[in-house]
Every structure is written in structure tokens, then in C-alpha cells.
């Protein structure tokens, strides 16, 4: 797929449960990740998100190199824990969701 990697890898990011409030209240982002010599892991994506999408207070989203406690990460509707968490290698058209868990009743 030379054509697609030259124009970057298209994926969708979604934020819910209030996490979208740190991203300009936009729940769904279609993004393109540049061609890279190293694989696009979620670890690398989080740095990209911090530099390119996160609008405010990064400490409410990230803690060290991972997401802060209380945020679930899903890749194509499955818990990232099933897929290697930070080391998961992102593929074209992946849908990655960050859900802040709710506690209200």
C-alpha cells in the first residue's frame, strides 16, 4: 500500500465520558499519522496527541507516558489490555477511543 503510507495513516480518535472537554469539546477526530521509520504504537500516539490535539491541562489526560488512571482505551471496540496496551501497533483505519469512566448517579 505505498500510496496510503505516503499520504500517512488515517485513523479515528474518539473521546467520551468528559475526556472530550480537554479536546475542544470535539468527540471525534479524523487524523492522519505521518509515515515513520518506527511503528506507530499507542505510546507514540499519546505523545502526538499531547503535542497536536490536547487543548488544556494535560495532567487530566496523561500521567507519565500513559493515560491517567480512570481512562479506558479501546481499539476497535476492544479494551487495549487485550491488545498489548502501549505497545499496540496502530493500523490504517483503526478506531481508538478514550473513555473517561463516570462516577455520578
Amino acid at each position: 500500500m505505498a500510496a496510503s503510507s505516503q499520504t500517512g495513516m488515517s485513523i479515528t480518535l474518539e473521546f467520551s465520558g468528559g475526556a472530550e472537554l480537554l479536546f475542544g469539546k470535539v468527540k471525534k477526530h479524523h487524523i492522519s499519522l505521518d509515515e515513520s521509520t518506527t511503528a506507530w504504537t499507542i505510546k507514540k500516539l499519546l505523545i502526538w496527541v499531547k503535542d497536536n490535539l490536547l487543548k488544556e491541562r494535560p495532567e487530566l489526560f496523561l500521567q507519565g507516558e500513559t493515560v491517567r488512571p480512570g481512562i479506558l482505551v479501546l481499539v476497535n471496540d476492544a479494551d487495549w489490555e487485550l491488545l498489548g496496551e502501549l505497545e499496540y501497533e496502530i493500523k490504517e483505519n483503526d478506531n481508538i477511543v478514550f473513555i473517561s469512566t463516570l462516577h455520578g448517579g
Binding site: 491517567r68 480512570g70 473513555i99 463516570l102 462516577h103 455520578g104 448517579g105
Partner: protein
């Protein structure tokens, strides 16, 4: 404790005729429901719809735990309370509503906060526990107490236009700590007082909790074990997520747990077991 019933009375057959004819329920399922006891923790936006639909369906015994009294600002979502019960204990108010609909349900109000010293004693008297609370500390408390006593925990939460449902600690699925070994930083937790909530959103979520509970009680089994239902009321979308299995190194539900009795959850979470104020000073 409930005395075990083995056949349905005529009044129960007349009342439940529309659900008795469901092949998935039938007389056997209805008897199971009548022999089940459920503890609802939180008599608020989630607890009200859960409680009334469980009572309607003929759950044998319902315990209702809440430390709070009814306020005017509750009535936009806590629909079992009434204007003339403002100031009354919420657990008593819900009990009154349940008695009006189905007097054959044994309903027990607990006007108290659950904490490490009393939770086990209350929970061990029930078969299924519903987490209808509004704070992180109580959510960890209920999780650990349900793991230690072997009870399924039907957990719901709602905020703004969003809601989430999952069932912990049953059918070999994970517990709350398997998913969230570390509590969220207190400054990232928003409650309904600060973030707001449209009342019918916990209505939808509480009803789904009641449905999951009835499926466990009647032997059908829960749908959201090892799954999380995520509802977005603005977009009208429901998403079901496949969650991880039980964690081999979970501190409470694994084979070699390090937590074998309840701890201080307000200290663990750095926040109070109430939605009224957010952080607790750690000494």
C-alpha cells in the same frame, strides 16, 4: 432472610402474568426472582428506576441504602421521591414508593453510609448488589466487599448526557479493580452537582441495571459481564465494549489477593464517600 418459596401464589400469577408467559422466564424464572434479594446502594438517579422496576418484577427482598435526605434539586431525576417527602430520608422515601406499587416485596431501608466497618455485614445478606452511587470511594468499597462475599455487582453511572453499565464479579469476568487498579486523581472526577446531568439519562441506565439484575436472578445471565455499555444521549449511540478478563495479579479478585479485608477507601481514593465535597485532606 427470605423463606424460600417453591410455588407462586394466585395473586403473584395474576400480577406477573405478562412476564410468566415469556419462555425465558416462565414459572421457574419467576420463582427464582421471588427468591432473590437485591441490595441497591444509592437511592438517587440510578437507584430510583432500578428499585421500582425490580419491585414491579417481583424481586423477593430489596435493601435500599442511602445516607441522605430528599432535596428539591433531586426531583429532576430521582423520580420515586415526591415534593411532600422533601426532608425525609431517601431510603424511607423509596420504600414508601415500592410499598405502593408492590406490597409483597420485603423492602428494607438503610439510612446510613456504607463503609469498611459495616459493608460486609449488610452485603452478605443479599444475593446481588447494585452500585447506584455517585462517588469513587464507595465504588471501590462495593467492589471489594462484593469480591470478598462473592456477590455479582451491577454497576451503573451517569453524568451530563452520558451513561455506563457493566456487571462485575460474575460469570468469571473481571472486577472493578481489574479495570481500574489505581483510583483516578480526585481532580479528574466530576459529580452530578458540578457537572450536571439530564435526569432521564440515569433513568435509562438504572432501568438497564434492573434488567441485568433480573436476567441474573432468573437464570438468563447478564449481558454486560466483561463488557461495558457506553451510552451517549446527545448522539443517541450505544456502544458495547469487550473488556479484559480477570487480571491474574488483581489485588482483590485474583487467586493470591493482597486485600483480604476492607480498607479505608476515602484515604485510598483521596476523596470523600459523598458527592457533596470533592477532596479529603490526607494527613
Amino acid at each position: 432472610h427470605l423463606s424460600v418459596i417453591s410455588k407462586l401464589e394466585n395473586s403473584s400469577i395474576a400480577r406477573h402474568s405478562r412476564q410468566l408467559i415469556l419462555p425465558e422466564i416462565g414459572v421457574k424464572g419467576q420463582i427464582s426472582i421471588a427468591n432473590t434479594s437485591v441490595l441497591i446502594v444509592g437511592a438517587g438517579g440510578l437507584g430510583c428506576p432500578s428499585a421500582i422496576y425490580l419491585a414491579a418484577a417481583g424481586i423477593g427482598r430489596l435493601g435500599i441504602v442511602d445516607y441522605d435526605e430528599v432535596e428539591l434539586s433531586n426531583l429532576h431525576r430521582q423520580v420515586l421521591h415526591t415534593e411532600d417527602r422533601i426532608g425525609i430520608e431517601k431510603s424511607a422515601s423509596v420504600t414508601t414508593a415500592i410499598k405502593g406499587l408492590n406490597s409483597s416485596v420485603v423492602c428494607i431501608p438503610y439510612h446510613m453510609s456504607l463503609n469498611s466497618s459495616n459493608a460486609i455485614q449488610v452485603i452478605q445478606q443479599y444475593d446481588i448488589v447494585l452500585d447506584c452511587t455517585d462517588n469513587v470511594a464507595t465504588r471501590y468499597l462495593l467492589n471489594d466487599a462484593c469480591v470478598l462475599t462473592g456477590k455479582p455487582l451491577v454497576s451503573g453511572s451517569a453524568l451530563r448526557f452520558e451513561g455506563q453499565v457493566t456487571v462485575y464479579n460474575t460469570q468469571d469476568g473481571p472486577c472493578y479493580r481489574c479495570l481500574f487498579p489505581i483510583p483516578p486523581p480526585p481532580e479528574t472526577v466530576t459529580n452530578c452537582s458540578d457537572g450536571g446531568v439530564l435526569g432521564v439519562v440515569p433513568g435509562i441506565i438504572g432501568c438497564i441495571q434492573a434488567l441485568e439484575t433480573l436476567k441474573i436472578a432468573s437464570g438468563i445471565g447478564a449481558s454486560y459481564c466483561q463488557k461495558l455499555l457506553v451510552f451517549d444521549g446527545i448522539d443517541g449511540t450505544f456502544r458495547t465494549i469487550k473488556l479484559r478478563s480477570k487480571k491474574k495479579n488483581c489485588v482483590v479478585c485474583s487467586e493470591n489477593p493482597t486485600i483480604t479485608q476492607l480498607i479505608d477507601y476515602e484515604q485510598f481514593c483521596g476523596s470523600k464517600a459523598t458527592d457533596k465535597s470533592k477532596t479529603v485532606k490526607l494527613l
